[in-house]
Amino acid sequence: MFVSCLDRLRALFLSILLLGSVTLPAFAGSFEDSVAKFANDEFSDTEEAVGEIAASGNPLAFPIISALQDGRLSADPETKKVFITGADDKVIDAATGTAVNKLPDGTAPVRLNNRLRRTVEAALGGLTLLSPDPAKRLAAAQSVFKSHEESALATVESALANEANKATKQAFAEARAAIILFKPDASENDKLEAIAVIKARGDQEAMALLTSLGADQPPLVAKAAAGAISSIQSNLATWSAVQNAWYGISLGSVLLLAAIGLAITFGVMGVINMAHGEMVMLGAYTTFVVQEVIRTRYPGLFDYSLLIAVPLAFLVAGGIGVLIERGIIRFLYGRPLETLLATWGLSLVLQQAVRTVFGPTNREVGNPSWMSGAFDLGQITITYNRLWILCFTLAVFAILLAMLRYTSLGLEMRAVTQNRRMAASMGIATSRVDALTFGLGSGIAGIAGVALSQIDNVSPNLGQSYIIDSFMVVVFGGVGNLWGTLVGAFTLGIANKFLEPVAGAVLGKIAILVLIILFIQKRPRGLFALKGRAVEA
């Protein structure tokens, strides 16, 4: 019933517009001329055409303008004919609505620039205010709020009166307030009411709207606007602290993810593994390969690409880790300097190998749909990819902790690192445990690569940017202690994000390093020092 009521309203609205076009015969006759302007390939002509078509009330107006927005509107510069390609690849003539077999040769999509895109958005906002789809109505209301075109007022008011959806109704009320605020002949009372509505919205866009209000307002209105601005500002300041904390947690989760594998190889085993970053990179490239295969063979599986990539990345990086341990590191136990040099050289070999195989340029790793975009929580924006990475990091951490605590491999690992000879006497194959431990650490670095491919670029240099940070986290948190790594990562992340707005990104990073150096002077073994007989030297 709600829909039918809306439909009737829409019909009414259209008939009013049509009546208007009857009384203005110049409009009705020029619809085809307006459409033909798209074929001129001039931004100014396209802009005029959008304005005229939006105002024409022709039923083709909405399809034409939405096709223009999506790049589905094409024009033939020779014949001045304009065509719409529908979602089902059907082509119709934009001026008459008649179906055409296929796009004639020589047609090109009508081009847009940013100014035009804004015009198109505003025009579409006006045309979709009465759309039966509530999501479209909401988007339309928001675009009217931004453009606050006076011509949309009547439509907004009628839509407001008939709206049942609470969120959309609120958006319409805000859009109406925005229009009234900028309407030159609105009464003072109306404007004050409008300011109250916008103040209640309280976000950055509301503030942008209020600050762009001209100085030529009646004193009462100007005062109310200034009051609203300062109230929104203080509200936003509180939120910005919350936001910094969230950014800190998010950065901390990335640091933790990058460092967690190192906490095993360096922290538990004591191997200074400079090739750790390259394990992360290999994980990221595994994701790339998985996505490539999915793109070419099974496009429907794209949203699951990361889930498929996680075990594969673990196996690839873990396998290479085992090879490295068996091939190089086991000959160098107890010689940290040589280990450092060997793994460092290895990291360069791996980088150059990847560069030779995949090329030196970045590779595109797409975000699955569930990792794209953001949502608003109060006045802060939380992006899905960061949120998922946080959850993923905590899950990896928990699984790793459980593994070390409850599995026999975990028990053997702890035994070997605490006292190798005693463990060997108990019948543990220490060299096998060494290889598996190193493989585990490398495999987890590979998993980290899957997640980092979502926020960073996948290039042969990917690992280099994380190696320093990873060592920083492990040393700060306390070598050999997973909980220390967790606390260290989040502490550094949050400290960094609170310093950054004050000191800037460059100074902020320097300050963090200085603080860590001072901290290590005071507590050389990090936040959580391992007590008792430590890892063998």
Binding site: N113, M207, S465, K497, E500, V506
Partner: protein, 441 residues
Amino acid sequence: MLTQLTCDLAMTRRRWLAATAGLVLGLAASSPFSPAQAAEDTIKVGILHSLSGTMAISETTLKDTVLFLIDEQNKKGGVLGKKLEAVVVDPASNWPLFAEKARELITKDKVAVVFGCWTSVSRKSVLPVFKELNNILFYPVQYEGEESERNVFYTGAAPNQQAIPAVDYLMKDEKVKRWVLAGTDYVYPRTTNKILEAYLKSKGVKQEDIMINYTPFGHSDWQTIVADIKKFGSAGKKTAVVSTINGDANVPFYKELGNQGIKATDIPVVAFSVGEEELAGIDTKPLVGHLAAWNYFESIKTPANEKFIKDWQAYTKNPKRVTNDPMEAHVIGFNMWVKAVEKVKSTDPDKVIDALPGIEAPNLTGGVSKMLPNHHITKPVFIGEIKGNGQFDVVWKTPGLVAGDAWSKELDGSKDLIGDWVDKKCGNYNVKTNKCGGQGS
């Protein structure tokens, strides 16, 4: 400090690698042409671009470009009846190694000319070598200006051929009133932003409407900065970001912009370091409408450009290989050098250096670029909007070609300086005092 630390470590380890891996594994590319085999009847052309390390991402393509150009020239019979022979070295993104490799090219391989360098610091590092050994360097990348050297020919854009026209476009067409100047913390963004700040203020933009932000190399966590930009842009005036963010840091920056919902219609970003190559690594759908300013775009439809792209893709055997602005700069520079050599019938650097100013070569966008007495060239400026397929749609261009200024007219220290290697024989001639040797050089 962190950068310094990583740099120092990186250098030691690269030397170490060069010593071991280079010999043992042959991965670090050393010259594939040993000097002993070189026949007498070839002209050697040095290529000094990083093929490993952080800059390999950008520079490898330029090495291929010069190899491609040499190949094409040899098909036409070479130069002065001799074949050209490429000498490729790998400075491995290591600035002191650039100087060593340049010396090796000139003294050991006896090259007639060198095409190379990307970052300003690598150019500054090889400058003394080229001066001392008197050879020619063609430098193909847009840079911060404030330099004119006798031995260097700058075929990339000076700030007045890229940054200033871009800002003009935003001011006039997009009516931008508030500016975020965001860059990576090193010499090119710092100098460019200094020039832009002076230029904006001369156009009446107030200090409070300019926000300047620097980030370290390879910055990957852009959450705070993007949120700051969003906040700065909500002051009721049209806002734009002018980005001199370099290299790899761009991908996470654009990803964060897209995820936080900043669209080009709200806050457009105009970038000076993002081209077709960089976009090849990103899903560009959320970036549609953001801008870049260059002197060349692959999407520009001219017969010369279409032929170049076809030949290039055939040469690299990759039908998807993109082209970009620094590649075109090498094309122009290479053709200018060939013309100058043929004009003086010699590859002697002194003769070629004197012959180059005034030489004209067609660029790929339909015009003819000319080498100027200050060793910069004339170029058209294009503003392109990012399209969904990773290419650019040109939305604006300068009416004619713009002459490159070696010294910026916007900065107090350099506005009276000109570079003139034809009449004054001076790279920093002060037109007020009529003396050679102002600031710089």
